[in-house]
């Protein structure tokens, strides 16, 4: 069977189809929505892309918390634009996910019922303005490390969405670092805000790169499909190696007494991560899990009459057009 035929066939998965599919991925070909794909590939992609989309829109909440209180007009506008970018990312990612044959309503339903997850980092509170800097610098920094490899992932719509997302995220990361730098170079009070934010966000940011390789259930398959190119531990090391010198540069202290440059490995050694905390937050017991999910559910429920109105109006307009045409 030629590849063209494989693309067009709706046949049930068979060994040969799957083998040819694997070969296409191995050749770095993109899989497009109408191509044949194993059911597991489709499901895994729905899970990962939707989780990513949900993270974008839930991620709007902790930062949105400071838009009305931003300290200057320049920062207010930049933060508002940043949070709007996250909404935009959510939109492309939901659209990419919809190409796999699931509707936006079903995806929201999964989020609202807790069936689908989002990045646990957003269950931490933003307590001061410096948290906005820390999120940009650390959380977006960790996100980029996770996401850059996805720009060449095998599923075409996801890879293309990620190219745009990554460009914007790297802008956000620089913006966050610049907020931290301004604070670190500011008055003693401002420096204290910056250090306090780094203290609270450092460990959750390391956890954001996912459980250790030994505990990670999806790594092997995801590597094969190029949903992952490096393991969680490799990504985490990359993040630490990249971020520690940045903290040094602005005179902030990373809150890890065991952190030390290792001349032999050419990497930083670091202390133990509190994985109990990680799993507690994943299971719903973080400081803001309930608030975040309620905010999404409330926005959706309160918006129902608005969406219904838009739908009813569009139908009326359509009917009028038809009547006129007749």
């Amino acid at each position: 069977m030629s590849e063209k035929e494989i693309k067009n066939t709706g046949a049930e998965p068979s060994r040969s189809l799957e083998e040819l599919f694997d070969q296409r991925i191995a050749r770095d070909e993109k899989i497009e929505p109408k191509d044949w794909m194993p059911e597991k590939y489709r499901k895994t992609h729905i899970r990962q892309i939707s989780q990513h989309a949900h993270s974008e829109i839930v991620g709007m909440l902790p930062e949105g918390n400071w838009i009305s209180r931003a300290p200057s007009m320049r920062r207010k506008v930049a933060l508002l634009a940043k949070v709007q970018d996250e909404a935009g990312h959510g939109l492309y990612l939901y659209s990419a996910c919809e190409t796999l044959g699931i509707s936006r309503e079903e995806l929201y339903e999964q989020l609202h019922t807790g069936k689908a997850k989002y990045s646990s980092i957003f269950n931490y509170p933003t307590l001061t303005w410096a948290d906005i800097g820390a999120i940009g610098w650390l959380v977006d920094g960790a996100a980029i490390i996770n996401q850059v490899p996805l720009c060449s992932t095998s599923y075409g719509p996801y890879a293309r969405a990620m190219i745009r997302v990554c460009k914007e995220e790297s802008f956000h990361q620089r913006q966050g670092f610049e907020i931290m730098m301004t604070l670190a170079n500011g008055t003693p009070e401002q420096k204290e805000l910056a250090q306090d934010a780094l203290n609270r966000w450092w460990w959750p940011s390391l956890m954001m790169l996912g459980p250790t390789d030994a505990e990670s259930v999806h790594t092997e398959q995801s590597m094969k499909w190029k949903l992952k190119r490096k393991t969680n531990d490799e990504l985490r090391q990359q993040f630490i190696d990249q971020t520690v010198p940045q903290a040094d540069l602005i005179g902030l202290t990373v809150p890890d007494p065991d952190l030390k440059w290792n001349e032999e490995t050419k990497h930083y050694d670091f202390g133990d991560i509190d994985w109990d905390e990680f799993w507690q937050v994943v299971k719903g017991h973080g400081p803001c899990n309930k608030e975040r999910l309620s905010a999404r559910v409330d926005a959706w429920n309160e918006g129902e009459w608005v969406r219904d109105a838009a739908m009813a109006y569009a139908e009326k307009q359509q009917d009028n057009k038809i009547k006129k045409a007749i």
Partner: protein, 251 residues
């Protein structure tokens, strides 16, 4: 024209953009769907961008040490000159859209005149804003029609918002002493002349949306003189929080 008069005239226009921008930005992340959320944030960004242009100009007029942030964050409630309409809370989406629509129609008419101001900076800011505000008006008018002529529920909620916010529309056409001076010198716009056109446009859209125009004979005013509603203090505590808590710092 006296500098202080011009500055007060600028506040009269710019404070509306700031306060409405602030209200819209409170919504970010809580819209009825992603597309609407993004659109409301866009309008907030436009309004806050316009605010910055006006305030930077007012800061320049005020002297070397004054910045846009001093003007935005460090005045007392009485010194903000926005109309009562724009400070009204985000009660529900019908109120948000109605408030926006009532302001947008006025805002576009205002900028269309202000672009002919003898003050070149104000004329340039107005000219730049026209494109943005035309879009705002299209967005809010479209939504008024969708909500008014959508379902029974949306019709009822929107009619309620229209009835409730109508009393704030007349203030848009009041002139303060500073406004009158600015008009006399060809710098400011005589907003009282926009009234007829305003109610005509608003009436047409409401009619198309199957909503009725309230027959109200009394109106609220005070914002332009700095006498605001109870909502304003809370809005300002949010807006000014950082600058008040950590004075004299760079952010």
């Amino acid at each position: 024209m006296k500098k202080e008069n011009l500055i007060q005239y600028i506040y009269g226009i710019a404070d509306n953009a700031l306060i409405l921008g602030q209200r819209l930005s409170e919504l970010c992340g809580h819209g009825p769907n992603l597309e609407t959320d993004i659109a409301c944030t866009n309008m907030a960004l436009d309004l806050l961008g316009q605010t910055r242009s006006y305030y930077q100009y007012a800061a320049h007029l005020s002297g070397e040490k004054v910045t846009e942030d001093d003007i935005a964050f460090l005045r007392t409630e009485r010194q903000y000159k926005n109309v009562l309409l724009v400070e009204q809370p985000n009660t529900n989406f019908a109120y948000i859209i109605t408030r926006q629509f009532f302001y947008d129609v006025f805002h576009l008419l205002l900028l269309q005149e202000l672009q002919n101001s003898k003050d070149e900076t104000l004329a340039a800011i107005a000219k730049k804003g026209i494109k943005e505000v035309s879009y705002h008006q299209r967005f809010s008018s479209d939504w008024i029609k969708r909500l008014g002529d959508g379902t029974e529920v949306s019709h009822q909620k929107t009619q309620e918002a229209v009835n409730d916010l109508w009393k704030f529309t007349d203030e848009l056409f009041q002139l303060t002493e500073e406004d009158k001076n600015a008009v006399e010198l060809g710098v400011g716009v005589d907003v009282s002349l926009l009234k007829e056109k305003y109610y005509q446009i608003v009436g047409e859209v409401l009619e198309e949306a199957t909503l009725s125009v309230p027959e109200l004979k009394w109106f609220r005013k005070g914002g332009k003189e700095g006498i605001h509603s109870e909502h304003m203090g809370y809005l300002l505590s949010d807006l000014q929080y950082m600058q008040r808590t950590y004075p004299n710092m760079k952010w």
